[in-house]
Symmetry: C2
Subunit: 335 residues, 2 copies
């Protein structure tokens, strides 16, 4: 986090200048994607994200190919978080002259690979020269066959679910930073390869997002990009609710224990405040949990994890293993 006005404060300013009611506008600013179109003629999702060199990534450990994949993946995750199907991508690159066409070609090969995997195509782009590498990506998706899932739908009594392990990407990033400081090769840590990979090459949960939209069981959803503490706070704020998370229920990769010890960081902090896991965070109507868990296991062979509950009030409370509670509202990661 840099000095000065926080990014969240700046985003509030932009939100203040935005509009939520206009013809063919279904959802303006304030969710993972904006939504436009009509129910009859098809609803489109759109999202844009900007990545800046040495703030959102470090080319010391991010190859051009993997950075290409990740530049797209973080946006695909926003489409996943609305239950959508990604279709079209536009790129805006500000490229230092020092990187040149070979770097761009390798970056584009990573972009093309993930787009092909997701049945999504590049339809526009702009490249300019600048002093630092800045990557802006816009992704357009089609609403899935199911319901579009917004952040606003959570109600007291709903169960909070996440789609997979937490803290992996934050631990992976910390390991890369440690290796860079010490001038060593992170390849020396094969036992933490899954954490390193979680940072390098996150997997947007598109199929899961679509299935959750289809299920009829889910009341609100977003992706976990800024850490569970912040992302659940968004759902609570938009839904007008509070929430409790149970530390004992939060899933993690087995390798996270030893990595946290090595990094001298609290494992729970990595899981709750660490960013960039790109898992889905969603709330399920009470009584529908078993049906939904079975459906997702059958269709996708994917386990989902109940980790908390939506309450009256506001904010995010974390109940630790010893029964003590603390407020972690918006205590996630800022770059």
């Amino acid at each position: 986090m840099m000095a000065g006005v926080s990014e969240r404060a700046l985003i509030r300013l932009i939100r203040g200048a935005s509009v939520s009611v206009a013809p063919e506008l279904i959802q303006g600013i304030g969710d993972d994607c904006a939504v436009f179109g009509t129910t009859d003629a098809g609803q489109w999702l759109i999202t844009t994200d900007t990545l800046v060199d040495l703030i959102h990534f470090d080319r010391h450990w991010h190859s051009p190919e993997l950075l290409g994949r990740k530049s797209i993946a973080v946006n695909l995750s926003d489409i996943a978080a609305m239950g959508g199907v990604p279709r079209f991508v536009l790129l805006s690159l500000c490229l230092p002259v020092s990187l040149g066409s070979e770097w761009l070609q390798r970056w584009l090969s990573g972009v093309s690979a993930i787009l092909a995997e997701q049945g999504c195509v590049l339809i526009g782009g702009d490249t300019v020269h600048g002093r630092e590498l800045v990557i802006s990506v816009t992704v357009i998706g089609k609403a899935g066959e199911g319901k579009i899932l917004y952040r606003t739908g959570a109600r007291p009594g709903d169960i909070v679910y996440i789609s997979g392990p937490l803290g992996s990407a934050a631990a992976g990033l910390a390991l890369f930073q440690r290796a860079k400081e010490e001038g060593t090769d992170p390849g020396q840590w094969p036992q933490w390869q899954d954490l390193l990979d979680a940072h390098l090459d996150p997997a947007p949960q598109l199929e899961l997002g679509q299935q959750l939209g289809l299920s009829g069981c889910v009341s609100a959803m977003q992706d976990i990009s800024d850490g569970l503490a912040t992302d659940l706070a968004h759902i609570c704020l938009e839904s007008g609710t509070g929430s409790i998370l149970y530390a004992a229920r939060l899933p993690a990769l087995p390798s996270l224990d030893s990595a946290a010890t090595f990094l001298a960081q609290e494992k729970l902090d990595l899981m709750v405040k660490g960013g960039e896991d790109y898992q889905l965070l969603f709330t399920v109507r009470p009584g529908r949990e078993k049906e939904l868990e079975a459906r997702i296991l059958t269709t996708l062979h994917h386990q989902i994890y109940p980790v908390g509950i939506i309450t009256e009030g506001q904010g995010v409370i974390l109940e630790k293993n010893d029964g003590t509670r603390c407020d972690i509202t918006f205590q996630g990661y800022e770059h």
Copy 2:
């Protein structure tokens, strides 16, 4: 123009990674906007542009408010160039901490003003901190009631038209640069205020673009952002034709003569190679010129200017007042 690989070469690489055939994709990369949707359910235009501090603008003379207007205007011009109606805007800002929230608020007030003028709304955005100011804007438009006008439709015998004076913005930029070098105030040059304004606050030709789409007379169109020499070369390349421009017919503001003399620049160079006029460049089927000129004069009180002809062959030939000819293909402005 900086050293290293040209921006055009980089854009060619991106184009190589793009796709032109996909479900609901009507036009991929290679025109002012990409087009998606279906004829039945409505066709959407989308365009994205990135502006970098000290490359595309200079805050020495661009106030936050006017820079906000221009950041949007350059994208609206791409919507105009397809005959579309702008609807939704997404912003991605990379903001140095030194600029802070007051600067952003002023920039946003300029953005809001031009959006309100055009009936267009802000629906998404992202702000990150970085070392230099980089502004990426994405605009979504709806296809107009008329035909969507692409770059590909020009045929030999078509008349080349432009919508207004050329060279104004390039002269305005050169005047601002001169004043900065000399540490003087450009306010000392009231006789060139129209040129200064053309650089500071360009006006996208949205109503004209829509009328040209409705007319049934226009075969190809794009906006003049990189200079007539480059932008007409794009139409020729995409249409598989050549072209001849007649220097004697190119319109300019009366103030351009004295400014060019003062700047020790060729007036014709400013008009043909200077960028950022954001006029429309279009081709008209032979025999339809008078009908079109009358229609535009009646509906918009706007004069349009025939300046050349589409030919067999390729590239852009400029015929000077003395009858000599030279090839100016792609000799426009690079930032």
